[in-house]
Every structure is written in C-alpha cells, then in structure tokens.
C-alpha cells in the first residue's frame, strides 16, 4: 500500500529560486524514511507540501496521501482537512501553543476526529482526555500534563508534539527537522519515540534530518536532497562518507556529526523511562 506519492512536484519562490524541482517520491505504509540534505535543500518545503501547508507551482505535479489527493496543479484538494487529520506533523519548533497546558495541547490532536461544534467549544470527552494522557505517558511526559508548554525544554515539547500526533491517530507522521534544535540526548529520545511508534503502531514515519548519522541509526531508507532535487533514494546503510562526498562535495561535512556527538547519538540506553526535570 502506498502512503505517500509525490509526482513531478516543483516549487519556486518569488525571487526565482527553485525550492523543489520535479520531485518524485513514493513511500509505502509502515516505512520509516529519513530525508536528509543541507539547509536549503528543500526538505522542509517538501514536508510542508505533503500536508498542504504550502502549494506547489501551478502546472506542477500532484501529492497523494493515503490514496487521497492533497494538492494538484498548485491547488489544494477540497478534502485536505480530512486528509490532514490522518497525518501528524512534528515541527522543528514544536508548534505547541505556549500558553495552553501540555494536556490541552495534546488533546487538540483530536480536533480532526470530533464533530466540529464539539471541538470548537472545547468539549472533549473524558475518554478523549484519557487517550491524551496515555499518549503523554507513552512519550514519558505524563507527569508534566498540567504544565504550560512554554515551561518545558525543547526536547520535552517535541515529545509532547509526538503525543499530539498519537492522539490524532495519525497513520503517517511527518517530522520536519524534529531534532535540529535539541541537544544530543534529547535528540536521541525523540528519534527513539519516532522509531517506536513506527515499530509498534505501524505508523509511517518520514523524518527530515540534518545529519546522516541519525538516519543510518533509525531509518532503513534514506532520501537525500540537494538544491530541490532528490539525489539519492535507497538503503541508509549504503550511505557511506564516500557516497555523501559524491553527492554533496565539500558540503557533505555539514551532514556528518563530529565524533563525540555521534557517539552520544549511537549510545544504547533505556527507552523513555527516565524523566528529565523541566527547564533545568
């Protein structure tokens, strides 16, 4: 079954820069795919197109998610809201609402599933709130449920954002640079959470990463981008430093972690059992 299909998608911005050039991509259900590339390669732009937060150029190709069209020809499909409710998005800057509690933020993941009037009035059932608590528990954040999102560290907010995608009952999770602004330890925990929902819930995960080490460790398949084009699509294990140098030249250094951080990224530790104190 195909989860995501992108055909001939192009996007150019006003100043004549091409963010995406004829991108073609197919992701099967249950896959965990890394999207790598230097800054400005088009990773974020591609992910934003997959849920229709941005539309491609007029006359360019189409995006289909879970069999439903998201956009075609630079126009959003009518059913885009319904499709979005089946896709969870995790952003680099977490995109939680700062002044709302973690529990409320996570419960809002259910907005796409409850009747519009109930979601608008904020009348969530006890069952829905309990599901939010369970999701927070799974990412190891249950004890912070009543705290405002703004009081938590980046890694903690990111895990709550994953919990929001779980409450959403997302069949696909798209993570846009989820670890780019986190320290190595938090980054590893976030990546483990993503790998776990992929493994245990069969959720398709597409995660854009800056560094290839996390890709080889957590994702069987990697799609590499440069200047808006897909330049590599295949097994992550085959992405050696030599291949990267072929793809990116001197810029490949940006994609490879320095030694000590790589060691931290690769370290085997217990999953999600310990809680990190808030804003240490």
């Amino acid at each position: 079954m195909t989860a995501i299909r992108v055909q001939d998608l192009s996007k150019s911005f006003k100043k004549g820069t091409h963010a995406l050039r004829n991108v073609n991509l197919r992701v099967a259900k249950g896959e965990m795919v890394a999207l790598i590339g230097a800054s400005g390669a088009g990773k974020s732009t591609l992910i934003r197109h997959l849920v229709g937060l941005t539309t491609g150029d007029a006359g360019s190709g189409q995006v289909t998610v879970l069999g439903d069209p998201v956009q075609e020809n630079g126009r959003l499909a009518r059913s885009v809201r319904r499709t979005r409710s089946r896709v969870g998005v995790v952003f680099q800057q977490f995109n939680l609402v700062n002044r709302l509690s973690l529990l409320t933020n996570v419960t809002l993941g259910a907005l796409g599933h409850v009747p519009a009037w109930r979601g608008t009035l904020g009348l969530f059932t006890a069952h829905e709130k309990r599901r939010a608590m369970e999701a927070l528990h799974r990412v190891g954040m249950a004890e912070y449920a009543t705290q405002r999102a703004s009081t938590l560290s980046g890694g903690q907010q990111q895990r709550a954002a994953i919990a929001r995608a779980l409450v959403q009952q997302a069949e696909i999770v798209l993570a846009d640079e989820p670890i780019a602004s986190l320290d190595p330890e938090s980054a590893r925990r976030v990546m483990e959470n993503l790998a776990r929902i992929n493994r245990e819930d069969g959720i398709t995960v597409v995660v854009s990463l800056h560094q290839v080490d996390f890709a080889t460790r957590f994702c069987p398949r990697t799609v590499a981008m440069r200047d808006g084009c897909v330049v590599y699509d295949g097994a992550s294990a085959a992405l050696t430093a030599d291949v990267l140098r072929d793809l990116y030249g001197a810029a490949s250094e940006e994609l490879i972690l320095p030694g000590p951080i790589r060691a931290a990224a690769a370290a085997e530790t217990d999953f999600g059992a310990r809680a990190v104190p808030a804003t240490a």
């Binding site: 952003f91 995109n95 939680l96 609402v97 809002l108 907005l111 608008t120």
Partner: protein, 272 residues
C-alpha cells in the same frame, strides 16, 4: 617560535573628529523651519490672543475665586450620578469587547483575505472617526435622553478602537502554533480559537481594561448632551453659574477617575 605582537599599537595622533554632515544639518534647519511655518499659519485660525491672559487677569481671578470653597452639600446626588457614569462605562466597554473580538479577527490580514479585512477595517475606521459625543447626540435622538444612549455611543466608538488594537495583536502572533493546530485537521474557527486566541489573550485583556479607563473619562462628559450620568449634573451647574457645586463635582470626577485608573493598572499588570 617567533614572538608575535598581540597588543594593538596605540595611534600616533588622537583621531580627528568626524567631518560635520552637511546634509543632516541642512535637513535639521529645514525641519525646524517647516515646524515654525505651520505654527505661524495656524495662529490666526486658532484666534491666538495670549495678551488677553494678562488684560483680563482680574476677571479670571474673580472667576476662579467662585470655585472656592467647593460646595459638597448635595454629595449623595453627585455620588449616585458618578456611579451611574461608571455603570455606563462598564456596559459600553463590555459590549464593545464582545463585538471587537469578531471584528478584530476579521480585520487581520493574516487570518482573512483582503476582500474581508479591507471592508471590515473601513467600517471600524468609521466607528472610530466619529467622536463618542457625536454618537451620543444621535442616540439621544434615537432612544431618548438617559444613560442608555451613552452606553450605545461608547459601544460603537470603542468597538472601532478595540477592533483595531485587537487585530494588531493578532497580526503580530507567532504563526507556528497555528500551523501545528492546522496540521491536526482543525477547521478555520478552531485554528483561531486554539492557535490565535491563547496567544493574544493577555494583550486583549490589557487593551480592554485600558479602554475601560478611557471610557469612564468619556462617560463623565456624555451627560452634557443628555446621555446621563454626572455630566448632566455638571452641565446644569456650569450653565447656572453654580461654581461652588461645579468644583465639588469636578473633584469627585478627579478622585473617581484616578482610583479606577490605579485599579485597572494593577489588573493589567496581573494579566501580562
């Protein structure tokens, strides 16, 4: 390894002053010239007669003396009317907050397309451009003398002001939480409720309290055109040359407005 000099050499001569920027000095002179010219041109129209202040100094001293001592004999009446004035301000502000929320959101260019925010903004401009005294006169004609006309006048004028302030807050929000909400499949209204309003709420509350302060001040004069409250009493006394009573009413207004200003300032600090 050769020794390297790391300390910078002190300059041989003290640096010279930067040359005077002729362009800027010229702009300065022109700026002052224009300001002076505007003042001169407005002299006649404004009927400026500063010498009269000295020529009629005697008159004015006698006039001022009339205000002393303030006559508080009828203070229960003044207090009643002052409380009515505050109640007018409370209702006028409350109604305008309720209406400014939708109008403010519909005037925000990051929420609605131009063909909605432009007409809404023009409508709010109109509500703001006309002073509340003018609205009060119109509403006195429409619904009769009394505080209700005052409430309606404050409501229209303040809605115009708050809608503009509210929409400026909305236009300054962080768009990322809104995208987070949108990505869950929420509809537009839900994006506003959960993505925008939590971000702007403290600012909105602060603006509303500030407008309440201003509305108490405005409400004290609405009575002059017949829209109820302490203004009505004040106007009767001024017209009847009862300066002792006028002074008493003015003192009550000053004390009330100052106390309310302080209270609302405290509240505003609490929410921000």
């Amino acid at each position: 390894m050769p020794a390297t000099k790391t300390a910078a050499q002190p300059p041989a001569l003290p640096p010279a002053l930067p040359p005077r920027d002729l362009k800027r000095s010229a702009a300065n002179i022109v700026g002052w010239g224009v300001a002076l010219a505007v003042l001169m041109l407005s002299w006649e129209g404004a009927d400026m007669r500063p010498l009269d202040l000295f020529i009629y100094a005697d008159n004015m001293t006698r006039f001022m003396a009339g205000f002393f001592p303030p006559d508080f004999y009828e203070w229960p009446l003044y207090l009643d009317e002052m409380i009515i004035t505050i109640k007018v301000a409370i209702w006028g502000t409350a109604l305008s907050v309720v209406f400014a929320v939708p109008f403010g959101i519909l005037s925000s260019e990051n929420v609605v397309p131009w063909w909605i925010h432009q007409p809404t903004r023009r409508l709010m401009d109109a509500a703001r451009a006309i002073n509340e005294m003018v609205f009060a006169m119109l509403f006195v004609a429409a619904v009769g003398l009394g505080p209700f006309a005052g409430v309606l006048a404050l409501w229209i004028h303040t809605t115009g002001i708050l809608a503009k302030l509210f929409s400026e807050a909305v236009e300054a929000i962080d768009p990322r939480p809104v995208e987070g909400i949108r990505a869950t499949g929420a509809n537009r209204l839900q994006e506003v409720i959960y993505g925008i309003i939590p971000q702007v709420l403290p600012l909105w509350i602060s603006y509303s309290l500030y407008r309440f302060e201003s509305n108490v001040r405005s409400a004290t004069v609405l009575g002059i055109v017949g829209a109820g409250g302490i203004g009505m009493v004040l106007w009767e006394y001024i017209r009847g040359f009862y300066y002792g009573q006028t002074a008493a009413v003015m003192l009550i207004i000053i004390v009330t407005v100052s106390v309310l200003d302080m209270l609302s300032q405290r509240l505003r600090k609490l929410v921000i």
